[in-house]
Subunit: 252 residues, 2 copies
DNA sequence: CCGGAAAACTGACAGAGATCAGTGAATCGG
DNA sequence: CCGATTCACTGATCTCTGTCAGTTTTCCGG
């Protein structure tokens, strides 16, 4: 793997080899990079004409609010991830997007994005793949909440975050920095904060992993994987389709 | 709304006005229509090169299997819906697709599909919108399983199915035919079949809706909507984006 | 460095839903 | 049309997770 200037390039670069010009194009998307404080939503559920961003630094979550006052976090975004890509396509945002830490993000002009894709089909394919990986993660969360118990589900989330962070150079098999509070974790896992606390304690006592002071230490990777029934495939299987994009079909 | 020859055309036609030629193109996609028995998977999770279909008749579910033997149904597909569209993009199928009844479906050649989109951008946009609606439904299921109790969740699913069936002319506000068993419902709702039974009884006793002998009768639509916190928006908001597809931006 | 606020943590108790172990009702292929 | 299989349905019990009501620890701005 090449040294990458941005997590976004690192992420795409881990699936297709990026040429010098392509790296420059990706860099150009970061032109309007700005800093945003934690807690103030970047995208608002139900609002039209919401912006899209590429996240350069910090953590973000996308969530849905319910009438009863509860919220369900659908996914977390980490550096290199798109924010609100869906709302570019479907006009109205289905979810809100909130920074969980101070973040740096680049505002994306939809038209610029389309132009980039038109001129660099491989990048378009890579982003499309990334979007479809995001969908796969949502499905995985659905499966987890529907069919895994609290312990398995929590282990699964911690592993998933670890895998994603490792991809952009922000984590290893041994652990990663994680700014999520137990309340936030609870909103993502469909649990109460109290129970998240109990579950984290159990993971610690079982010698599987330790989540403390903003740091996740994975003590027994294989044990965790087994407990969570964690299947790495949904995160990094084939990568984007090249046929018809990189080269015409008959050339294969 | 015009009289439509297929549920697929009915679905797309409810969001963009379809011209005569466009209707013919949609019809041509149904060329390889075939019948498939209940229970034999059409798409297999984890397998590469899986086919895609447009469902013409019958009910289908897409699901994920877990190591423990449980399964989580991610979504149901009804006539007019795409099957395995995602696997066309990402090479490997993330979910299996199983017919719940005898079905009729049209096998789709990915290349044909791309050609159709290239020549009929409005149809491409409409299908893209439909795909994004599918994603919104998955998110809605996630929110439901994470934050709604069994009664609300079940009510929500029954309402969602009703709305979708109504769109393609297979249901009304008053009810619809529904071939789902309580076991299947349980796999979709993240509940046990026993509890689904109890929940359905309660919905019946509360005078909200009656699910019996393959028929859902909605007795108190507004009551159900309120109980489920059902927000129709995620199913039928704006429809696809026209800008940049139907006409260049400056023409607006 | 200090005080206040947020986050982490804990025990006691309650409740939603799972599991177990069945009995009736419907459906269907032969 | 009949036996078998699937599906619908029920009560009793158990357990996982939520709720309540705190205390302690950590963090952060002034």
């Amino acid at each position: 793997m090449v040294m990458h200037s941005s997590p976004f390039a690192a992420k795409l670069g881990s699936y297709i080899d990026l040429s010098e010009p392509e790296l420059l194009v990706l860099e150009s998307l970061h032109a309007r990079r700005k800093c945003y404080p934690a807690g103030r939503d970047l995208v608002l559920q139900g609002q039209p004409e919401q912006p899209a961003y590429i996240l350069a630094e910090g953590w973000v979550c996308s969530y849905r609010l319910l009438a009863g006052g509860g919220r369900q976090i659908v996914d977390f975004q980490i550096p290199g991830d798109f924010l609100g890509l869906r709302s570019v396509l479907s006009r109205t945002a289905g979810q809100s997007v909130e920074p969980l830490t101070k973040v740096q993000a680049s505002l994306i002009n939809p038209q610029d994005l389309m132009d980039v894709f038109a001129r660099n089909p491989r990048l378009g394919a890579a982003v499309l793949w990334a979007a479809s990986r995001d969908d796969a993660m949502v499905v995985e969360h659905l499966v987890g909440i529907g069919r895994r118990n609290a312990l398995e589900r929590t282990a699964h989330l911690l592993l998933e975050l670890g895998a994603r962070l490792t991809l952009v150079g922000l984590g290893t098999k041994a652990g990663y920095d994680c700014p999520l509070s137990q309340y936030v974790l609870a909103d993502a896992l469909g649990l109460s904060a109290v129970h998240v606390n109990r579950v984290l304690r159990e993971l610690r006592e079982e010698g599987l992993c330790t989540f403390r002071n903003g740091r996740v230490d994975i003590n027994d990777f294989d044990g965790l994987v087994q407990l969570a029934d964690f299947d790495h495939d949904y995160l990094d299987h084939d990568g984007p389709l090249y046929q018809g994009v990189q080269a015409p079909r008959f050339a294969a």
